[in-house]
């Protein structure tokens, strides 16, 4: 299942940030609460080999662009097969967010939900398959 993530939106520039912030980073106005689906594309990722105290090495960190615009910072259990542009799901475990490769079922559900008309559905699923083959994203 895809979780939703708490975010906030600037009433001035409509920029979304996650987690929610009191004020827009670029405008001195209060942000409005919003929620975003916990799924997005990897913008970049790294593995830190000497993390700060309290974190286990190696530590996987990723920046994920959520559907709906906000970029989200999170941990990940593993980066094998991960690429910039890979679709990942975000889930919270004890209030800490982790990314993981998205499963086939979730992927299908997601495109089903997104696509409105039957034609779009077929296109979306086809695109998903093409993208998967092209990027070589492994199954979760």
């Amino acid at each position: 299942m895809i979780e939703t993530i708490a975010a906030s939106r600037c009433p001035r520039c409509h920029e979304m940030v996650a987690p929610p912030a009191m004020y827009c980073p670029r405008h001195p106005v209060r942000m409005v609460p919003a929620r975003l689906p916990g799924v997005g594309e990897i913008v970049s990722f790294t593995t830190l080999h000497s993390p700060p105290e309290g974190f286990r090495s190696p530590l996987n960190l990723a920046l994920v662009e959520l559907e709906g615009g906000a970029r989200f910072f999170c941990h990940g259990a593993q980066t094998r097969g991960l690429r910039i542009g890979s679709t990942v799901a975000i889930e919270a475990i004890d209030d800490v967010y982790y990314f993981s490769h998205i499963g086939a079922l979730d992927r299908a559900r997601l495109f089903w939900r997104r696509a409105g008309r039957a034609g779009d559905r077929v296109n979306a699923i086809a695109r998903s398959v093409v993208k998967k083959v092209w990027k070589g994203t492994p199954r979760a």
């Binding site: 970049s44 830190l48 700060p52 105290e53």
Partner: protein, 374 residues
Amino acid sequence: MADVWIAGAGMTRIGRRSEPLQELMAEAALTALGAAGLEQPDALVVATMNPEEFVGDGNFASNVASYIGLAEVPAIRIETATSSGAAAFYAGFVQVAAGQRRSVLVVGGEKMTHLPTPRVSELIGRSIDPYERSYGATMPALAGLITRALIARQGITLREMAQVAVKNHANAARNPYAHFRDPVTVDEVLRSRMVADPLRLLHCCPISDGAAAVVLTAERTAVRVAGVGQGTDTLAVRHRHDLVSFRATQEAARSAFAAAGFGPERVDFAELHDAFASFELIALEDVGLVPPGKAGHITLDGETAIDGRLPVNPSGGLKARGHPLAATGLAQIVECVWQLTGRAEGRQLDGRIALAHSIGGLATNNWVTLLERP
């Protein structure tokens, strides 16, 4: 606005130093005052990033002023994280440009090597966004994210990135003030320990002690401050739209060149903030010295080497001259002044216009300073 000139420059040898921070700053300040032929400036600007926690002293403008015998000179302290030195230079520059002071001594320094490395990393890391820090993000971690995106988006190769470190170590080998005097090879860089994938140890700058100082004056000297520009960006990397270029650098460069009245094509050499090797490649394009997508090629081709068309980091840069935080922005300017006035023995360039570029935090508060020998 009045013209502002540089009357004197000085710095300590950068590296692991046993002297107290105040003594390092005194050494740099007195060298700069001596070079300017000045005993007492009209004002003092002090740059330190975090003396409260690195050395346990506060009220640091007065602390330094009293230590070096300038207790009765008006003093302020400036802090913009790792670009504090460049910001302090600006604070001195505007006082002279506005006609408020005839001469200002600007001195920056930091002392960290007496602390364990994890503690230093933690203290430097406090300039990162608190949420990202709560996930274990450090400066190398965020730089690793940026570097991976740079490789994917711009096609920068690991070899091109390694060449930045190789070049800067080679330059530092000729600089008696540098932290590292030993050259490194591309293979050594590519085989060094992984820090934050794809960044390896020899892509990263060291932890250094040191201080640097300049005297600014309203009277004509050999070097004029042609322009100073500042640029800023969000504290959180996740709030930015672009990972592989820094808005803060682009904006700083735009406003420095606008003040100077000339463009990047007039720059003869540059000191760029290469805390991580990939940052030198990003900066080359962000300040406009190189067209987008070309920084890696031209580095590998030797164009930015000390005998190249556009020497970059003749001092050895943060990578090899060293990075004593608040000293760094001023150490870059000192190197430019020495190059422009024929005092860069062993690595002397022939140039009239120099550019210094300093990054504060993870590119949240950046500066570009242009110096000219008229």
